[in-house]
């Protein structure tokens, strides 16, 4: 025994020393990138996929994707930034596009500019615009909410309309079609939640306007697009071509149950539409209707979010390189997340991949992803400003007045007063 120890001890000690120093070396080189985001089936799953791809090429970098609710991520980010406790923050965080400017402007220097590293010209321009502050681009554009008009081909055919009749129409034409659809099929044209200003935002951005102008000042009473949008919503209501919905789930129920003939919303709804196998082959997608004003287009956006790197984080360089390698260049990654998660990214080159070119049997063989990526490049860029959520509340509060027949100019004045009161 003694002999055994004596002969083996040096070796064991040597091995122990070697492994200890080996551990020390890996500890010094291994980097872990912490990421905060929400939705385990969407953002979290996509980020894990992205991380796995990067780790394959860079085995020394691992990822820790932490999932919280969206409001929880915002709360934690706010507390972490306000307390100035740098080690309490992640390396990368997901921020909803409507709130991006609020964080960038409220916490100057907190986020790392990516302009030098990432080639932002390859992304949809409107996504880049919303994360730009004083000439610097701060984020990595992620999922898009490019909008489309989803319609039931079977109902419209019964009413005498072909898919061609749905292309590039105006909202006035949309309402006419809606009236005929109801007369012939008894179905309403769309679901509408009077407490959700989403449809107003879609119409307004499609004409290149927002609640705020380029300088971030409220743009309400003199905003032709907002006026036209409110007028259109008023017309939809007085023509009574909508099925009222109470809250998000109820609104989703209007089309999953087959009660309405169309849906105008962001591309992320596709998965929900396709979740009804009995409706396969009955749906088509067209560009959204346009307002009848100058600058009106058939492309808009609803929702979406992007990745941001914290300036104070120790692994800043690795985090930026990771985002650039995967989200900035990996076309194949975009095919995977589209196929597996239904995520439409904002990298324009991704549309050349196989998944984007595939025909979708659910939509009768239409190449819907190609269509959406066409429209993605055309979404007008606007300044979401720092008070979009407050403005949205003001609009929602005034929607009932619109139904009661209050003139649109007065509604606009009321919205303007409410916003000015809130953001002083």
């Amino acid at each position: 025994m003694d002999k055994l120890v004596r002969t083996h001890l040096p070796r064991i000690a040597g091995l122990a020393l070697a492994s200890a120093s080996f551990l020390a070396v890996t500890a010094a080189e291994a980097k872990e990138i912490t990421i905060w985001c929400w939705d385990p089936n969407f953002n979290v799953a996509i980020m894990k996929e992205a991380g796995a791809r990067y780790t394959k090429a860079h085995p020394d970098v691992t990822f820790n994707v932490v999932d919280f609710a969206k409001t929880d991520v915002e709360q934690k980010l706010q507390t972490g930034l306000a307390s100035g406790t740098a080690d309490a923050l992640p390396n990368i965080v997901l921020i909803e596009d409507y709130g991006a400017q609020k964080y960038l402007q409220s916490f100057p220097g907190a986020f790392a500019p990516l302009s030098g590293t990432v080639d932002h010209s390859g992304f949809a321009p409107y996504k880049v615009e919303l994360m730009t502050l004083e000439g610097q681009v701060y984020g990595m554009p992620f999922d898009s909410g490019v909008t489309g008009l989803y319609y039931r081909k079977d109902y419209l055919e019964q009413a005498g309309f072909k898919p061609d009749d749905m292309q590039n129409i105006t909202w006035d034409r949309f309402i006419e079609i809606g009236q005929q659809v109801e007369a012939k099929t008894g179905k309403k044209m769309m679901g509408l939640d009077p407490n959700d200003a989403g449809i107003v935002r879609i119409m307004m951005q499609s004409a290149g306007q927002w609640y705020f102008d380029k300088e971030g000042k409220p743009n309400i009473t003199g905003n032709p697009a907002l006026k036209a949008a409110l007028e259109t919503v008023g017309k939809i209501m007085s023509a009574n071509i909508y099925k009222p919905a109470n809250g998000w789930s109820d609104w989703v129920g209007t089309f999953t149950s087959g009660d309405v003939a169309s849906v105008v919303t962001g591309v992320w709804i596709t998965g929900t539409v396709k979740a009804q196998p009995d409706q396969a082959g009955k749906w088509g997608v067209a560009p959204i209707p346009a307002l009848s004003i100058e600058g009106a287009t058939h492309a808009s956006n609803l929702g979406g979010s992007s990745w941001y790197v914290l300036e104070s984080s120790e692994e800043k360089a690795e985090a930026i390189d990771f985002l650039n390698e995967i989200y900035g260049k990996d076309i194949d990654f975009y095919q995977t997340i589209l196929q597996e998660r239904g995520a439409v990214g904002s990298l324009l080159a991704a549309r050349g991949g196989a998944a984007y070119e595939a025909a979708d049997r659910f939509f009768g063989g239409q190449k819907v992803w190609q269509n959406f990526s066409d429209w993605l490049a055309k979404v007008p860029a606007v300044n979401y400003g720092i008070f979009t959520n407050e403005a949205d509340l003001a609009v929602t509060a005034q929607l009932p007045a619109l139904t009661q027949g209050t003139p649109v100019d007065e509604v606009l004045k009321a919205i303007d007063a409410e916003i000015s009161g809130q953001i002083q």
Binding site: V66, A69, D72, Q75, T79, G80, A82, T85, A88
Partner: protein, 272 residues
């Protein structure tokens, strides 16, 4: 029941009580029914038992590291409860037993802290924990809760009913103050402790905002944070969320039923 007016009033009373009972039980029934239905059926408003319970449970267990998450919650809740009871009951005992000129001023100042909303304390507290290097630890979740002004208040009020003769007798028998507390006070105040246990355990188990702020990784998260994350997906699977909610309710339910008798006694006043 011969008197028709009396019968009518009984019908009204029972009708009202029944309605109230239904209103309070309904969310619970809905939660249980929801766990057996698919997300789509829940959205459609289906109110009958469905067939997807097994699927929902299986999904919950694959999406969530259930043993770890429950262990985190249990650890925090039990630690917080034991420490709060120990510290706050001592304080309540002290406030009532020891007379001094500053006692009531101090007591009132302590009660005033109940009026400060937690949101105002959050950032300073977070900075403190950051400086102490306790961010992302369960200790950081427990520490701020153990000096609970409300529980001190509760113990002081209950201690008013503790007969001072008992303390005097114990003193005559030669017991020291800590012995009086441990061997006389604690056993006599059993039901007060039980009631406080339930209150503190429930608060700690359901605590949301502070754990959310201070816990940073998937490994330290509690069940409330996990459910919140599941429920905020773009398309939440409500069936799975309901399974999680039911599982999260069970421990508090168990604690409550286990200590129910003492709880009621404690609320009525522990010393008869």
């Amino acid at each position: 029941m011969k008197n028709p007016a009396r019968a009518a009033s009984a019908v009204l009373t029972y009708g009202f009580v029944g309605l109230m009972a239904f209103l309070s039980v309904f969310p619970f029934i809905w939660m249980v029914l929801g766990a057996t239905n698919s997300s789509i059926d829940i959205i459609k408003g289906r109110l009958a038992p469905g067939e997807t319970l097994a699927v929902n449970v299986a999904k919950f267990f694959t999406q969530v590291n259930v043993p770890l998450v429950f262990w985190n919650s249990a650890k925090i809740a039990i630690l917080a409860t034991l420490l709060t009871l120990a510290v706050s009951s001592l304080a309540g005992y002290g406030f009532e037993m020891f007379r001094s000129r500053r006692r009531d001023g101090l007591y009132r100042a302590m009660l005033l802290t109940l009026m400060i909303p937690f949101a105002a304390l959050m950032i300073p507290l977070f900075i403190m924990m950051g400086k102490a290097g306790l961010i992302n630890t369960h200790i950081a979740v427990v520490l701020p809760t153990i000096g609970s002004a409300f529980i001190v208040f509760y113990f002081r009020q209950s201690t008013k009913a503790f007969p001072s003769e008992l303390r005097d007798a114990a003193k005559v028998d030669g017991l020291k103050e800590w012995q009086i507390f441990l061997y006389i006070y604690v056993p006599v105040m059993r039901s007060t402790y039980a009631a406080a246990f339930i209150i503190v355990f429930m608060t700690a188990w359901n605590n949301y905002l502070w754990p959310l702020i201070v816990l940073q990784s998937n490994e330290t998260k509690t069940i409330t944070l996990v459910i919140s994350s599941l429920a905020s997906a773009y398309y939440p699977d409500y069936g799975v969320v309901m399974v999680g909610t039911i599982l999260a309710t069970l421990p508090t339910l168990a604690v409550f039923f286990f200590m129910q008798r003492q709880f009621v006694q404690g609320m009525l006043g522990s010393v008869k």
